[in-house]
């Protein structure tokens, strides 16, 4: 716990994402109510809260993945570096290349490991030739701490890897488009403890290059990997602050009940 408090003092000067008065409706259901949050650059922000509290929903607003759900409606302001991501001029497809996403269940494409990572750069035309693409694939797999395990079988199917490897492959795939923000929706919930440790270590390394937002059910995980923590409850952002402060000195009684295991 001491280490954690040391870490939390690392302050990020810039806010990568600023959200003001965000409301999300699923048809009649008001899922997110008045959420204000600042997500700093080059740091890990964790969203915690009981099931159904809206943390995943809010995460999916940040790269407009909710656009694919017809009944979903988002109100309020979400800015990426001062630009409203729900502005009419914004193409969500382009936005998603800047705000990458890793999902709960590892979901590699049923293609080769190489093609999984190369897919993003290919469709966005980020590389000029095969050699550059090879380079991007190698560097992304290295950043995702997967290179040493797969370098001899880049053309084997990505679905043939173990769960933890698949999830790291998905992370490699997400960072291959050169995003600025990486959203992770419970990235470790389908993994065993060893794979979880590997992914957490990876998240910690990714912090140097990206603004990482992670949704997690595990408070220990939030405490281990994040510098800032937001606690969601019933669609409200109850408390948001430095991770050390949230876990050691919560201001709101609901936060305290949750982290001590009385609600959730």
């Amino acid at each position: 716990m001491k280490d954690m408090r040391m870490e939390s003092r690392v302050q990020s000067a810039v806010n990568k994402i600023e959200a003001r008065k965000v409301q999300v409706y699923y048809g009649e259901n008001h899922a997110i109510k008045d959420v204000d949050v600042n997500i700093p650059d080059k740091a890990v922000t964790a969203f915690i809260g009981p099931s159904g509290c809206g943390k995943s929903t809010f995460l999916r607003c940040l790269n407009r993945m909710n656009d694919t759900i017809p009944v979903c409606r988002v109100e309020g302001l979400i800015q990426l570096e001062g630009e409203d991501i729900y502005d009419k001029r914004v193409d969500p497809v382009q936005l998603r290349a800047k705000v990458g996403m890793v999902f709960q269940k590892p979901n590699p494409f049923p293609k080769s490991i190489y093609d999984n990572v190369a897919y993003g750069p290919r469709i966005h035309g980020l590389t000029r030739n095969k050699a550059e693409l090879d380079e991007v694939v190698e560097s992304c797999l290295k950043k995702a701490a997967l290179w040493n395990e797969v370098k001899d079988r880049l053309h084997a199917p990505g679905t043939g890897l173990s769960g933890g490897q698949q999830q790291r492959l998905c992370i490699a795939r997400a960072i291959a488009t050169g995003p600025e923000v990486l959203l992770m929706d419970e990235p470790c919930s389908a993994l065993d403890p060893i794979a979880t440790a590997q992914v957490e270590e990876l998240i910690d390394e990714l912090r140097s290059a990206f603004s990482v937002v992670i949704v997690t059910h595990s408070m220990q995980q939030a405490a281990r990997v994040s510098q800032h923590t937001a606690f969601f409850h019933l669609g409200h952002l109850v408390e948001y602050g430095e991770t050390g402060q949230i876990f050691t000195n919560p201001q709101d009684p609901r936060t305290e009940s949750y982290i001590t295991g009385r609600i959730g």
Binding site: P70, R96, A97, G100, M101, N107, P108, F109, I123
Partner: protein, 451 residues
């Protein structure tokens, strides 16, 4: 906690008992399961028996149509009869009708019978000539007109025997039935026996069954599936070309792009309804729209294909949508998550995964279309078509018929020789369908991927 033992729960039906003893309730459950398995086995056995019965009947009655009785003997192509002017001018030779060629064939047969000293059994030359198929003269005429140099030479002719003689060799015509038959007499059958012993008459593989066009009532021995096979092939090509792109595009749009509203729901319901519309209704539609309004040629493969496309489209759309829906949403999320557009998601990820299902559904839909006869009857593909349709593209507008329609036409004719042929045609149709289904299975295996 303490009152747990004091308060007895609801009484359990079976008191504590050794697990070696089967309780009466358990026995009843086991008996129910055994009964259900028995029902299932009976159902499977019944359907298999029916299938076997059908196949056995068809093969028993139909296999013989692949073999045909033929007469083989030397024929002198007399110049006096076939080219009276002697100048080998085709236009003038064409004035000699099949009657003249019939005479040449009959004369050749009589000469051969005499040379081999075969007893005519008191038959007149005219009655002997009746053993030759009425089709033979026409084939010989076509052959000679194609190659006038043959005139004057003696060729080894191999011509169809008359339908009754073919039936006699196959056991369909007997001496008893011949007594009641105005087309054949027992004496002629006896002569056929003697000719067979002398090697003049024999039975052999019948390629003409697959290549000849249909033939008139008087010469079942010459009737073949040529036009029907070509027609069915053209139909399949056209239906595939028209249906697959339209069906797959419609399914992709409905499944992936269409907004979920009342209109989409109405379209969905109606597509399913269209799959259940009786096929003859599509035939009437084709007749009134494609032929009467648009003026497309009657009996042509194009109109037939348009009608069958209308029928097959709903099937293809339903199968395609089902397989697109079966692609896990996580794959779509993954693609959208790395910034793929909707269309890239569909074409790079969803379609390849749905491909096996789409292919199977499409091929089975096409196979169902191939077996359709009712709509084709209404647009005139039931007509007697004596000429093969020409090669595509013009061939698509030529009159043609299709396998199921040909079967129907043959079954309705009175001569039992045609019943044999319709059974043969059913075997060909079944072979066609089995091939398509095998193709579907193979493609499915080839494209199947795990995720």
């Amino acid at each position: 906690m303490t009152d747990l033992s004091a308060q007895p729960g609801p009484a359990l039906v079976s008191p504590a008992q050794s697990i070696y003893v089967t309780s009466p309730a358990m026995k009843r459950r086991n008996a129910a399961e055994t009964r259900f398995r028995a029902y299932g086995l009976v159902a499977i056995a019944l359907s298999l028996t029916m299938l076997a019965l059908m196949l056995v009947t068809i093969f028993r009655d139909g296999t013989s149509s692949f073999f045909q009785a033929r007469l083989g003997y030397p024929v002198e192509l007399s110049e006096k009869v076939l080219d009276p002017k002697g100048n080998r001018n085709r236009d003038e030779m064409a004035k000699v009708t099949t009657v003249g060629y019939g005479k040449v064939l009959a004369a050749g047969l009589m000469a051969e019978l005499e040379r081999q000293k075969i007893d005519l059994g008191g038959l007149k030359p005219k009655e002997v000539a009746e053993l030759i198929s009425k089709d033979a003269a026409g084939s010989l005429r076509a052959m000679v007109l194609a190659d006038p140099a043959l005139i004057g030479s003696t060729i080894d002719a191999s011509v169809f025997a008359a339908g009754r003689i073919d039936g006699y060799l196959k056991g369909r015509v007997t001496l008893e039935s011949a007594k009641l038959d105005s087309n054949i007499s027992p004496e002629q059958l006896h002569l056929a026996d003697r000719m067979r012993a002398a090697g003049l008459l024999g039975s052999g593989w019948n390629w003409e069954f697959f290549t000849n066009p249909d033939a008139s009532d008087q010469r079942p021995e010459a009737a073949g599936l040529g036009v029907a096979l070509l027609g069915s092939l053209y139909l399949m090509i056209l239906v595939a070309v028209m249906c697959v792109p339209v069906g797959v595009a419609a399914s992709i749009y409905l499944e992936e792009f269409a907004p979920k509203n009342t209109l989409t729901d109405a379209i969905e319901v109606n597509v399913s309804n269209l799959a259940a519309v009786p096929s003859i209704v599509y035939g009437i539609l084709g007749l009134s729209i494609f032929i009467n309004v648009l003026g497309l040629p009657q009996s042509s493969s194009l109109v037939g294909a348009l009608v069958i496309s209308l029928m097959t489209l709903p099937t293809i759309i339903i199968a395609t949508r089902a397989s697109i829906r079966a692609v896990p949403p996580s794959i779509r999320d993954a693609a959208l998550g790395v910034g793929a557009s909707k269309m890239q998601t569909v074409f790079h990820h969803v379609l390849p995964l749905a491909m096996p299902g789409i292919l199977t559904g499409t091929i089975l839909g096409l196979a169902a279309g191939l077996g359709q006869s009712a709509p084709l009857l209404l647009i005139g593909m039931v007509a007697f078509v004596d000429n093969h349709p020409s090669v595509p593209v013009e061939g698509f507008l030529d009159p043609a018929t299709a396998l199921p329609v040909q079967i129907y036409t043959w079954v309705t004719r009175s001569d039992p020789a045609f019943v044999e042929r319709s059974n043969g045609a059913i075997i060909v149709l079944l072979a066609f369908l089995v091939t398509m289904n095998l193709l579907a299975i193979l493609l499915r295996r080839k494209f199947e991927r795990r995720w």
